[in-house]
Symmetry: C2
Subunit: 330 residues, 2 copies
DNA sequence: CGGACTTGATGTAACGTTTCAGGAGTGATT
DNA sequence: AATCACTCCTGAAACGTTACATCAAGTCCG
């Protein structure tokens, strides 16, 4: 109740630009210029303003600036879940890039709920943010195209389904990465190589599948439909899919899991059946998440430049915002 | 270049409240009330407004509302790194709670840089956010007290050092959790139980250490200073600390690692020396992060309600904001 | 029947910036 | 001495809301 009312902000909060202007004996416009480091201010005025700022402490109200200037300095970032290596690394990269641009991110986990994502985006658009980075967005291609049409700047990272040509997108080298993974297994002498995939229809699944088949085809191995098991990118899914594979009359000698979670599940399934890795079964993952490095034995995996992807997305977005700004001047 | 100029926002952006008011033949105040679902609006006016909104599409500009109403609906969240199970789970809990309150979070990773955290907070305070959740803040007790004094509402989660009494804080049950962990090892028959700790001076370290010693003392085991090795909560640190412990003439038969990362490092160190877990060496971790569940063998660990902690922090913060609002009315 | 009180609806002043159009002063050029 | 170019600064108008003070009708009561 009895707070120190001296410098505390309980009663009166901090100075406004107008108060600074009065104290320094100049106009608000001048203060604004000094604060923003613009030229065309006399040394005398600048010093007066600086002095007041130093003595009383002033910092511009971002909200007011946002309203006046039309830019909030905030970027929305939507993703399914934070608590997942794959996403958090992308997030990390994006965050760092945004920080470099002196922007902040408004984080919106969607929990894979389409509804939630739509309303969140709706909100982000209308004044809260300047643009957005959508990681593995839940929305359909049409919805995203609509959003784009609307003029809201955004970038998609790792789309589910092939997006509109005009929507800037960052995605990984699914096909070539998958080929490399399979080639690695082939080089170890494996010929019965199973694929534990993600959900069919997702770009990530389809393209990795293409890489998988291409690599097999390249050495003349006929793809066996029995060895392609659809799963869901989770460790549990990997476990179940692998268990099924190991039940086959002619089980695979190697498994290419379409991400590290699946691979970890695969390893668990093998262990439960007493199958040794890598002696009896080789497992290769995809993504190179932290988890891959701590399991036993260490998981061979395809490195994806996740943080880079986050950075890249921000770079694209910043360019969009820049363009928008330029257009606004005309 | 040739965008569809029909419904696109390239040229004219969306309607403002004033335009809606004109179209509906009422004042902006009335529109505002309709939008915000307040009473005291005639049916006629309400319908007119609704019609315009439905036909032209309107959504209030959050920035303007923030400026006018003094609340942004944004909460800052600072944490050392996103890409770390421990933090991302707390973050997840906080995010969910904020979503329930129809608020968004502005994510600020500090990368353990004190400087960065200070400037970020400075920025968050001045208009961008209504309050903040600081996870493992880098700032000193004095700085945090100062911030509190200033009237900016914030809550600390898992402080480094004991904070000011008046600053709302959420932290885990370090001491009792540590005791439980050690009791578990004791019950397995171990007597030479080593502790791989976090940095000395941190609350988390000191309290877990207290729990460790208390549990040993309770069964009459004299604590051996040689068995308490300071580390840094990282897997690499755990590996090095454990390697040193295993070099001892009379090495421990069990290791209590002060978090799961350290425990994972410990397991790696053991494996490198050909020491089997749990036959030759027992390892217990702390936090119950996802990683603990995927290593081999599965790591025994002390569950911390991390997501709950995030939720709790938000609940506290919301209460602070509520109080602030009430005080403002007087 | 007139004043006090409710209701319902409205106009308008904030909120704290940025920016634009212009004005005052100074020195230089004709 | 008049004009011009230049620098520095000011006043005021945005930006899109919300909330306060008002105002115009009704309604109730003595």
């Amino acid at each position: 109740m009895e707070t120190v009312d001296d410098a505390s902000g309980n009663g009166r909060s901090r100075l406004t630009i107008r108060e600074v202007a009065d104290l320094a004996g100049v106009s608000t416009a001048t203060v604004s210029r000094v604060i923003n480091g613009r030229a065309e201010v006399s040394d005398k005025a600048r010093k007066a303003v600086m002095r007041v700022v130093r003595e009383h402490g002033y910092s511009t109200n971002r909200t007011a600036r946002a309203l006046s200037g039309g830019r909030t300095g905030l970027v929305g970032v939507t993703l399914p879940v934070v608590h997942h290596s794959y996403f958090s690394v992308i997030l990390d990269g994006a965050g760092e890039a945004l920080y470099d641009h002196d922007m902040r991110m408004v984080l919106c986990p969607t929990h894979h709920e389409h509804e939630r994502e739509v309303t969140l985006l709706e909100r982000l658009m209308h004044g809260t943010t300047d643009g957005a980075v959508l990681i593995l967005p839940e929305e359909s291609g049409e919805e995203l195209s609509g959003l784009h049409e609307h003029g809201y700047p955004f970038v998609i990272v790792d789309p589910y389904q092939p997006p509109d040509e005009r929507v800037p997108t960052v995605s990984a080298a699914h096909t070539s990465g998958a080929s490399e993974a399979v080639e690695h297994l082939l080089s170890l002498g494996h010929r019965r190589i199973a694929a534990v995939t993600g959900p069919r229809g997702w770009i990530a699944t389809e393209e990795r599948l293409r890489g998988y088949r291409a690599a097999l085809a390249a050495v003349g191995v006929m793809p066996d439909p029995q060895l392609e098991v659809e799963s869901d990118f989770s460790d549990r899914g990997g476990l179940e899919a692998t268990a099924a594979l190991l039940e086959l009359p002619d089980p695979p000698t190697a498994i290419f899991a379409f991400n590290d979670m699946l691979a970890i599940g695969a390893m668990q399934a093998a262990r439960r059946r007493g199958i040794r890795i890598p002696e009896d079964l080789s497992v290769v993952g995809f993504d190179d998440t932290f988890e891959a490095s701590i399991v036993t034995p260490t998981l061979t995996t395809v490195r994806q430049p996740l943080a880079e992807m986050g950075r890249m997305a921000v770079a694209l977005l910043v360019r969009l915002l820049e363009n928008q700004r330029i257009e606004a001047l005309h």
